[in-house]
Symmetry: C2
Subunit: 126 residues, 2 copies
């Protein structure tokens, strides 16, 4: 008996037609936008650099998030060394356009969370 699962388009997989809910389907977790922050604002492009951020992302979570971001077209992965194999991660234009989301979160956090301070790169971009 062949296994059949109904085909689901990306749109059908969304929770609703709301673009806020749809965006949160992709980036609505505690780690994804931290990785986007590192790629966009902190000049980190190698796996080891991303893994070394002060938030201490678990390695399996980082690998899963990068794969998901690549699958959604927000991140590109390019091999820059064959021996040993090394990869460079960069945001696509679609991924880079999350900048205003990061900016709004940083504004809110800085205003309401005592002791936080936006990264220097975000202060310059303000």
């Amino acid at each position: 008996v062949p296994r059949r699962s109904p085909p689901r388009s990306k749109a059908a997989a969304r929770r609703s037609s709301c673009p806020i809910a749809g965006a949160l389907d992709l980036v609505g977790d505690k780690w994804t936008l931290v990785v986007v922050r590192d790629l966009l604002l902190l000049g980190k492009h190698q796996y080891g650099e991303l893994a070394a951020s002060p938030e201490g992302i678990p390695s399996n979570v980082l690998a899963e998030r990068l794969d998901r971001l690549i699958g959604a077209g927000l991140v590109a992965k390019a091999r820059y060394s064959d021996r040993p194999p090394r990869y460079r991660y960069t945001l696509t234009e679609k991924g880079a356009q999350l900048a205003p989301v990061l900016g709004a979160l940083a504004d809110w956090g800085e205003r309401h969370l005592p002791g936080t301070r936006r990264p220097a790169a975000l202060r310059r971009a303000r």
Copy 2:
């Protein structure tokens, strides 16, 4: 033997001093900002209204998120009927100031997620 757990201030509980990571500690999940959207933009203030949103939030998740938002000072809960007991949920000023985060997510989603369309209330507020 008394159980002792080291006291952790709110700041110490944060992953880092980054306001983006700190904001995501509070709202970095797929449901919280959907609830904030309903309260801020869609005029929903009762538990049943929030539970009836098209995204289909599970009731236990909605109850947990409301409790967390109240605990963090983003939502206020007021009893408006004694028999039967009924409550009204509203955003505090701190919670309402997440509006630019919602706006940025809606902008990004509408641009990049085919088939999504921002709620009418967000179109007016654009």
